[in-house]
Amino acid sequence: MGIEMQGYRLDKTMEQHEEAEGWVDEIHGTHPMDDLLRTDRLPHIWCPGCGLGTALTCFLSALRKSKFDLDKVVVVSGIGCTGRVAGYVRLDSFHTTHGRAIPFATGLKLGNPALKVVVFSGDGDLVTIGGNHFIHAARRNMDITVICVNNFNYGMTGGQAGATTPVGGVTSTSPYGNYEYPFNVSALAAASGAVYVARWTVLHARRLERSIHEALLKPGFSLVEIISPCPTGFGRRHKQREGLDTLHYYHEHGVIKHGADPRETDIGLSGALVEGKFVDLDKPTFLEQRSRRLAQALEK
């Protein structure tokens, strides 16, 4: 007995598979992560071989482990491919303007400090057009977790160069190779005052998940930088036609150095790709600082 599904055929029923081989074809079934996803919006818009889905899975998995009241968790995104994350999570979520996710998140957190506010956006959004908001939220030690997916280019608009494109990187607006010095996202956050900074590629999903979990639990401004393939915009111009090719690159070049000086973790087109937890320190957050200062000042 076979099942005819549009376009392909299964030789056995699900039950037969399960019984006979210990695995299951579900075709349109459900996934354990579905309760955290707006499944009526799937499939997502991300290309095959894009790492954003993995980054999102790691986030949701870490979020579940954190045991937060999910009705009090808010995800804020800006614009771009990563900006679409807010639209796929079954949480209170806001898809704001380009670069402005962090100030929007700041308003949410200060409006209701009981909320756990997570900014999930891309490198172009957070450190290029939104760079000013990024450094100032870190400076204030604002009580938000920022997840920055860095794919070294603007994917949504067709692979243009940005503030994270490595020197020499060929993009649709740096056809002769990029000649601008890029930002190191993790170093920028650390220098600006972030209390937690970690970087992982999507290939190091287990460690990435653990770092996101730590970042979520960390009071103050925490940053997790996720290095992720963009085969459509960036990879194919750098001999990484498929997302898998980029994962192979991560496998070969990834070097885990916990506690590395963030200034020495710049990312180039070749050479070591330093990952790990770079910063983890304790410092009163914006809200704690505010409460202390006001308590002192208004007691008089």
Partner: protein, 93 residues
């Protein structure tokens, strides 16, 4: 596997086993689960889903130890592992 000394609880240790679920219609065929499965449980299949991609299929169901890496790596929420009661596997038998 050989032990220089047999652990006292060897007979109690269960190697986990997993049942892999593949949501074929969600798959975009990136191949990450196949490539990075540490036990080579998965392989590309000849089937084509409605989006035109080849979803993976299970070739070594017994080998799955329910590590969950395929589930975590999959960018499409298209594969997951259900841990089942593991068996006591004494390698040196």
């Amino acid at each position: 596997m050989k032990y220089w000394r047999e652990p006292l609880d060897l007979k109690d240790i269960r190697v986990p086993h997993g049942v892999i679920h593949i949501l074929k219609e969600r798959c975009k065929g990136c191949g990450w689960c196949i490539e990075y499965c540490p036990r080579d449980v998965l392989a590309p299949s000849d089937e084509i889903n409605t989006k035109g991609y080849h979803p993976p299929h299970v070739v070594q169901a017994d080998a799955c130890v329910s590590c969950g890496l395929c589930e975590l790596l999959c960018p499409e929420f298209a594969i997951y592992v259900e841990e089942t009661e593991g068996e006591v596997v004494l390698y040196e038998r």
